[in-house]
């Protein structure tokens, strides 16, 4: 990943998210509409899910998007996949917006596909696996009806499932196999970018390893560009080239994965890395965690200034008022490792 402002090569960016935000407002009911019409003010609880995020994804790159639940990472993934339109800002693939314009915009590209967290929910239970995989390519003319069977077989075999799987229903598969089906469905659209939203989080450890290995294989064989969303820092470290850390709708740190893990600059990243439980195999002392104090603030009313200042051990006056920016850094970032903090670490 490179940062838009410092890199002349950013023209090569395949997918570019530019200052994108997303707010969710609960839709007004019929009664509310009448109340508004009569002049009544309605307290609309607006959730600021994503707040001015910019990032780029280059061809062949695997970018990890890390954060706790409610930080907006899934929403950002769905915006990039063309499921939710951005409230502000834009998301472009090769310079072309991912979604059309208008009040109810539709996705305009098939080149970005998505794999979801829960393979029990993301497959239509009443549709045979073969049709689930084949319907998109058939509808978009990637394959004609005569070759469909062979086409589906090809993608089933790519993800390690036998050709007979096409005739079965999702309930006849285990969780790991269903996730393979979901991956085959996304791949069959021959995407340039694959958005994976916690694709291994709901799987058992031994099955998780099988799916991670499948992603590694696909990354090499198909030269896939991927956004890998996860809260599991171990999985992210294993599979991604670059990562972006998200906190309450904003990206707070981004850079090459190993660099960020070894030398985190944002206090939140540091604390997050410290709070991962590790496998303890030595010693008989009580294991002491460095837990982050406090809770995630509500995205309904995010704190002003830096969103992390309430929990940050280094927070000062400026943090309460001014939103830190990637551009604030005194020296240009080395190798694209970049932080949005007034008082970065080390």
């Amino acid at each position: 990943m490179s940062v838009a402002h410092d890199s002349p090569t950013s023209d090569h960016a395949l997918l570019r998210v530019c200052n994108a935000s997303k707010q969710f407002a609960p839709s007004l009911s019929f009664g509310d509409h009448i109340a508004v019409w009569l002049g009544q003010e309605i307290d609309q609880r607006i959730v600021h899910a994503v707040d001015g995020v910019s990032l780029t994804l280059h061809r062949g790159e695997v970018l990890g998007l890390v954060g706790e639940s409610g930080c907006g990472k899934s929403t950002l993934g769905r915006m990039m996949a063309g499921i939710y339109p951005a409230s502000q800002g834009n998301i472009r693939l090769d310079g072309v917006p991912v979604m059309g314009a208008g009040k109810k915009p539709l996705k305009t590209t098939t080149r970005i596909q998505m794999v979801f967290q829960d393979p029990f929910a993301s497959l239509d239970p009443r549709v045979r696996v073969g049709e689930t995989i084949g319907e998109g390519p058939l509808f978009h003319g990637l394959v004609n009806a005569a070759d469909l069977k062979a086409y589906v077989t090809h993608w089933l075999e790519t993800v390690g499932l036998p050709a007979e799987a096409a005739d079965r229903f999702p309930h006849q598969f285990s969780g790991g196999q269903r996730q393979r089906v979901a991956i085959a469905r996304a791949l069959a659209m021959q995407p340039d970018v694959l958005i994976c939203d916690e694709p291994v989080a709901s799987l058992d450890v031994s099955i998780q390893a099988q799916i991670i290995n499948l992603f590694l294989k696909l990354k090499h064989e198909l030269k896939l560009t991927m956004l890998f969303i996860s809260h599991d820092l171990g999985v992210i470290r294993h599979i991604t080239d670059n990562i972006a850390i998200m906190y309450l709708g904003r990206i707070v740190e981004r850079g090459p994965t190993l660099d960020v893990y070894e030398n985190p600059k944002h206090p939140y990243t540091r604390a997050l890395l410290d709070s991962i439980p590790r496998l303890v195999t030595e010693g008989d002392e009580l294991v002491v965690f460095k837990a982050i104090d406090g809770e995630l603030p509500s995205p309904l009313a995010p704190p002003p200034g830096c969103h992390f200042h309430l929990r940050c051990p280094h927070a000062q006056e400026i943090c309460k008022t001014r939103v830190p920016d990637f551009e604030d850094q005194p020296s240009p970032p080395v190798s694209g490792h970049d932080v949005a903090c007034h008082f970065p670490l080390g």
Partner: protein, 324 residues
């Protein structure tokens, strides 16, 4: 040596389903000492949660405890009459579940729920009850507890709700808390807070715990003993750190190998092929046979649980150790 608190022997819980007998828990035995934290690990369907429920006698039809004994300080719990069992639950053994939003009643304030939990086992004045509830809430890390007694569950965040559930479990100073994936639904930063808190509380109160989880890392940071379950049986047990450093069963070995932190980034993970067999009509062969790389003709007969003193393993070809 500490006194024995709980002895589970030959515990078997089966579910009589339409398609046959599902042996969810099969001949499980272990002992738990006072103040000890024991980790019960396994993948989904391994029988770890059903084991927890069986100890408390909370198995509903079509499930049935078909054999075994569970003794709490020498008192047999299996076959105990329901009213008597109810005095054990909550007072001597309590339970914390994965999802606090399903265990807390959404229409009662947490103060009311805690007072009810207290009143179920002893008579206390309203004021004394409130003091005790606020006290326990403070202990689990809820600030300003006295005022928050009037709060309803929805006014707490997920992490705070789990703290309330833990506080209720601690309320009657039980000797044993069974924790079924208590931190799985929480975020990493909150998980770390709660792990730390539970561990300190267990030490302060001298409470023993059975910590049920699929996550080896979290278990290893709290438990001193580990039980590894696979397809309804204990396949390996022993002191947590020994077991994780030198696993003896090929399954445990494979499970540890498949953790991303054990591989170089970007390199394929060691993986256990296949998946757990159906628990209906399990054959007489070793349940891990089809996934095992070390299997031979011997493995077509079910291995017994063998012990070397501190550790046990259920395998014909354990990786290391001197077994008998």
């Amino acid at each position: 040596m500490k006194k024995i608190l709980l002895e589970v022997e030959g515990l078997s819980t089966h579910f009589m389903t339409r398609n046959g007998v599902l042996k969810a828990v099969n001949d499980v035995s272990f002992t738990l000492h006072e103040g000890e934290i024991i980790g019960l690990v396994g993948e989904s369907g391994s029988g770890k949660s059903v084991t927890g429920f069986s100890i408390l006698g909370l198995v509903d039809a079509p499930g049935q405890i078909v054999a075994g004994s569970v003794r709490l300080q020498g008192r047999e719990l299996i076959g105990m009459a329901e009213p008597e069992l109810r005095t054990v639950r909550g007072r001597e053994i309590s339970m914390v579940f994965q999802d606090p939003s399903t265990t807390l009643n959404p229409v009662l304030s947490i103060g009311t729920q805690m007072r009810l939990a207290l009143a179920a086992h002893e008579t206390v004045s309203r004021q004394a009850a409130d003091t005790r509830c606020a006290d326990v809430l403070n202990k689990v890390g809820i600030p300003d507890a006295a005022r928050r007694l009037d709060y309803f569950p929805h006014q707490f965040s997920g992490g705070m709700r789990q703290r309330v559930a833990i506080a209720i479990a601690l309320l009657n100073h039980p000797k044993l808390i069974i924790c079924d994936e208590p931190t799985t639904a929480l975020d990493v930063s909150i998980q770390a807070q709660i792990l730390l808190q539970m561990k300190t509380l267990a030490q302060d109160f001298g409470t023993a715990m059975i910590w049920i989880s699929h996550d080896l890392s979290t278990v290893s940071s709290v438990a001193s003993q580990l039980l590894v379950m696979y397809a309804g049986r204990i396949i390996e047990s022993g002191p947590a750190r020994d077991l994780l450093r030198i696993p003896n069963h090929p399954y445990t070995h494979g499970l540890l190998g498949s953790l991303p932190e054990h591989a170089r980034p970007g390199q394929p993970l060691e993986q256990i092929p296949g998946q757990m067999p159906s628990l209906i009509d399990l054959g007489s062969e070793c349940a891990f046979l089809s996934r095992c790389t070390k299997s031979d003709s011997l493995c077509h007969t079910s291995p017994t649980l063998r012990s070397d003193g501190s550790r046990r393993v259920r395998c014909h070809h354990p990786i290391a150790g001197d077994w008998h």
